[in-house]
Symmetry: C2
Subunit: 509 residues, 2 copies
């Protein structure tokens, strides 16, 4: 099967650039439809060491809204996993409807690494393959879209890459842990891969084979494979890629949208901390581009350094509706290794969460040492929306300031670094963005009647925000108020703050 | 503080029996109120090795409905825990409202074992104590009832017990793993305990000190301490121990309760597998008592053997409403070590669960190797209630037979043993039990309008049950149909089946 691949296939840079951008735009649009249609997506990348799985995932998630995907790397089972059925650790990681999960290796370990290392015998290989087919069929029958990619490299190319990786200080760790183990020969690997493909190529979950000797070619082929699989999945549900649902296209947003859209800010005297924010801060596109590049590259280095020093980073985004949290988080994560961070979108608690202390779900979501967690909204909901909407009793939200300060001290005392942003803009700029969203088909899903309702309560929220910042700015968890009237300025401001705080914590400043 | 304790305090067997039963009844009644009022309870037992923490927990959970509590043992942190803030592993184990969590050791490890082993320095002890006070205050402020017990033994008694344990083959494992570590001297331990008590005795979470040299005295004191703490918590909410809520006392159960209560079973020709069940099976109270004792003792041994052989056991209870699942499970778990099993009550999926494959939540709940999970209702809801109530499309529940067979094969192939019970009774007996529940104040909470509605659909359910049993009886997951017209017979039948299946799996038959 693999011998049909032309490993000489390659792309020059120019052609690559022509091809990649339209595909990324398509993937972004597809994500919106996936979300709207509530389809869960599992993308599994398999392939030998140094075949480019990690880089492919990075390239795949690049155009995506980071609140809609998770990335997992599969290594040998840990203790929890070891004591449960083989498929357990994959089941518990399944995405919820509307989300993506990307797996850097997965349940094929049994048929590849475990088989080659002799951990399971030849008879068990057939049993394992059967279980895998059943597992995959259960998922696709239930409406999961499962995309399986096999990244194939030639013997010479793999050898060359392993050498390069071993000589790169930022990459060495990827192969270092496997040095002691004997790597099985290429030919033996090839045979195992061929048999695995034969045993598990099914109609509902076919393998996409990718020639991975040329990096640019491989990236395009992976992206194209994923996009076309997703489009096919949408088409089979009678959906074509349009950008907006019929419902959204008629543009109705309920009675509130026709009410008064203006808000007059009640300023206090003396001016409070929000009055003093300088909303005239701006950046030119040229300044932005050069700064963005520099900061994103630096962040990627710092992500690795967090891992090396086993430091956890917790980043909190709060701000007005349409202040640009999503776009900001996207720039933050764009160049990061997706295996090192997680974006946690926070909305109203579900039934199980409501049956626990309000901090419970945030404790559960804390990152492991060495990883970064980015909260898109957070535990501050207690003193913002829950306060304003009366979802928490006054005694509860008043108590929360101290509870939050303690919570943040408990996590920073364990070595984590905590970075909190409030994205601030004027109600006039918010109105402009709301109206722009209404007018733009592919942004229309971002604006809801709730946004208009919240806007009417601007001054009540404002009071809550000021009190929140005043009462929860601590040495270990300081707030950064980000001037977000200009999106470009805001993005650079958060990224540079993040870089500075991480450098400080990691002893690199 | 500890010197005031009279370690000579003891109880003779007769006095013990007089005292323990009323306390157990009270605890059972308190559990119902806790559940009704949705109060979450955390009971923490601390104390040195061999002070009787495990036995105390066993004695505490004895009268409780096992669907309403979980038991955790705290050892040194595992990898997942090691890479997160210290309190993380306790936060994620908090009970949901209305439930109990019992902890055999907990967050005091820092101030005791870690301090004594020199793992944390003296300054960190104060910081840790501060964090602990904050954590406990956050819980009690939120309405959690936190009961902390310190079990105290004398030097001589501890020494004696450690010797006994080391010479008992069924107990040796408890101390075996600590043999290599040097046990710190009694005096040093005493000092650390005194300081811990001084640092963390607070108004919201006071310590209950228990003289634990005498086993019977210790049991009574622990039980009494827990019951009176719970009664005080209820009283502070304006509630006294009555047994039924005002709402339930008026006995209204909605319009359906007044409709026809009779059901005529539509028998098939030839008789189906339910028609053939012999509902005349009965046991005398004397036979029952002696069999129950024998089987419960044997189950406890088998539980330990499961742990030793690292075999997971999955027990599934399905059956008609009022067939006696709850009482049956209670007899099953009554003599088990609560650290080795978990009861998983299954009701309608919550929002997060609905956003995943229907098997997802069951995969997540699977026991680790060496542990027992008892499902009170299960994944069979897919082909029972979801089928009958139209919650799953026909194509979905039809597909589910195969999915369930595969699921069960995947878990048994990993070494788990699977035991499935269908508790069967006649509609006449069900009616008798429903009406008895209505009449008995402390049972009234068990009967709802839903039960009456389900009863109206007896024949539709019957059809679903027959198809379920026919289509999902496999060599690795056979169904046992339990004649449940007589509760005593049913309990012995499930327990003896369980014993036989476990013995077979463990190679002891």
């Amino acid at each position: 099967m693999l011998e049909v691949l032309n490993l000489k296939a390659h792309l020059d840079k120019e052609r690559y650039r022509e091809l990649i951008s339209p595909l990324q735009r398509e993937l972004r649009d597809v994500q919106q439809m996936i979300r709207r249609e509530q389809i869960p997506i599992v993308v599994l990348l398999e392939g030998w060491d140094a075949s480019g799985k990690g880089d492919s995932i990075g390239n795949l998630v690049h155009p995506l809204d980071p609140r809609g995907f998770k990335v997992f790397t599969t290594r040998g089972p840990n203790e929890e996993e070891h004591f449960r059925p083989y498929l357990w650790r994959f089941w518990v990681k399944l995405p919820r409807t509307g989300d993506f999960v990307f797996l850097d290796r997965g349940w094929y370990r049994r048929l590849l690494q475990d088989r080659l290392s002799g951990e399971i015998d030849e008879k068990s290989v057939l049993v394992a393959a059967g279980e895998i087919r059943e597992f995959e069929r259960q998922l696709t029958d239930d409406g999961y879209v499962l995309i399986k990619l096999w990244l194939h490299v030639s013997k010479q190319e793999q050898k060359r890459r392993l050498k390069t990786i071993e000589s790169d200080p930022y990459e060495r760790w990827r192969v270092a842990r496997r040095k002691s183990e004997k790597r099985p020969g290429y030919k033996k690997c090839l045979k195992a891969a061929e048999e695995m493909l034969a045993l598990t190529s099914t109609a509902n979950a076919p393998w996409l084979l990718v020639e991975a000797d040329d990096r640019l070619y491989r990236r395009v082929k992976v992206l194209e494979g994923v996009v076309s699989s997703l489009k096919a999945a949408l088409a089979s549900r009678g959906l074509a890629l349009t950008g907006a649902s019929p419902q959204e296209q008629d543009g109705t947003l309920g009675p509130l949208a026709t009410g008064s859209r203006d808000v007059e800010v009640q300023r206090t005297n003396p001016p409070n901390l929000l009055d003093r924010v300088d909303l005239d801060k701006r950046l030119s596109r040229a300044e932005y581009n050069s700064e963005l590049d520099r900061l994103q590259m630096r962040l990627r280095e710092l992500e690795l350094e967090c891992y090396n020093q086993r430091v956890a980073a917790v980043v909190v985004y709060e701000g007005w509706d349409a202040a640009g949290k999503g776009g900001n988080i996207k720039r933050l994560t764009q160049e990061l290794d997706p295996r090192g961070y997680e974006v946690i979108p926070v909305s109203a608690p579900d039934e199980t969460e409501k049956a626990h202390h309000y901090l419970w779900r945030f404790w559960r979501a804390l990152p492991k040492a060495g990883h970064i967690a980015i909260f898109d909204r957070s535990w501050y909901g207690r003193v913002l929306v829950e306060r304003v909407e009366g979802l928490a009793a006054e005694v509860e939200w008043r108590r929360a300031y101290q509870e939050i300060n303690e919570f943040e001290r408990h996590i920073t005392a364990s070595g984590a670094v905590l970075i909190k942003f409030w994205l601030h803009l004027s109600p006039e700029e918010q109105l402009r963005r709301f109206e722009e969203r209404e007018k733009t088909p592919h942004k229309r899903h971002k604006i809801t009647p709730d946004d208009w309702r919240n806007r009417q309560k601007w001054n009540v929220y404002r009071e809550a925000v000021v009190e929140m910042i005043e009462r929860t700015s601590t040495p270990y968890g300081p707030w950064t108020i980000v001037e977000a009237e200009d999106k470009l300025w805001a993005r650079i401001r958060t990224l540079s703050t993040l870089v500075a705080r991480l450098e400080q914590r990691l002893g690199l400043s």
